[in-house]
Point group: C2
Chain length 204, copies 2
Amino acid sequence: MKLTFSPASPFARKVRIAAIETGLIDRIEFISAAVTPGQPNEEYTKITPLKKLPVLILDNGEVILDSYVIVEYLDELAGGGKLIPVSGPERWRVKSDHSLLQGMLDSMLLCRYENMTRPEPLRWKAWSDDHWNRAWTGMARFENRPETLSAPFNIAQAGLVCVLGYADFRFADCGWRKAYPKLDAFHQKMLERPSVKISAPPPA
Amino acid sequence: MKLTFSPASPFARKVRIAAIETGLIDRIEFISAAVTPGQPNEEYTKITPLKKLPVLILDNGEVILDSYVIVEYLDELAGGGKLIPVSGPERWRVKSDHSLLQGMLDSMLLCRYENMTRPEPLRWKAWSDDHWNRAWTGMARFENRPETLSAPFNIAQAGLVCVLGYADFRFADCGWRKAYPKLDAFHQKMLERPSVKISAPPPA
């Protein structure tokens, strides 16, 4: 299997963490890819019209996307129930937590594109404020969600690690550690896991 | 159960179709909601920090999101395998098709926000062109994917209906029927299903 990958992508990081945690990392070849909104990348568009990282390319050529479905795929390949509970209320709590975190990452990337990629005279503060607020109030939601922070390792915790790591990487002055001390403690504990530590984004 | 809903939201439409197809529609109360990027909605942000439609609120107060996870939830509640194949290569093909369609809808909404919601002097054509191109080349992918168009009804087909209906609703001049005749035939056939017909967006 091949995974399109960039060390700067929080979505790709989540899949890398899942691949390590499920023991499948050695079966995956990482293919470097770069995509930027507003810039064509015809070669990559042939792989996925969405022009987004990551996708998983199976040996038969089938393409699996998005990062959530790739994690589901790896989880089932590893026997199931490793990162996503197979039944019960925890199943839906973990999945919904993960969707929220996925949306927070989407909003953080939209902020980043607004503030860095878009030509400066065309930036709209109400847009970036709105999207940053989604990420920030999302963090507050998890600060007050001990059932997420203390669960056995799962896809929602991996997603939360990626949100917090991306905040450090691209919004280093946002002050999330001070505002959310329980997330800080969670993040420090998570960094003891090799999958989390090795996949941390490069220096900004 | 309660579903936050707007007849203009293609994501909410997909859940409505799934609720009808799984026979669960009568157990869901539809709650009208409106969200606009750049405009606060504090009441709705309390339900979901992402400020997006739809979410499903269970009778115990738990909130299920996003539209994909809601469809998964309804599918399992209805016994499983109604809209998402339970195993095999079709499972991953349908899920990946659906992720692609979900991303196409995200891009179409970003185009819409760029061209209608954002103040006119701040619009960036390279951004909206890029996102429209993702939706358009995604349609081309499905035009050439008979295994998606002719499968038993599933979540990917529901997603494709929502993409095409949203194209009619917000991009009426884009000419998708002429460019993609197989999608046109698929769409006409789908409109024979009550779930698809009744959920079509209102006149623009």
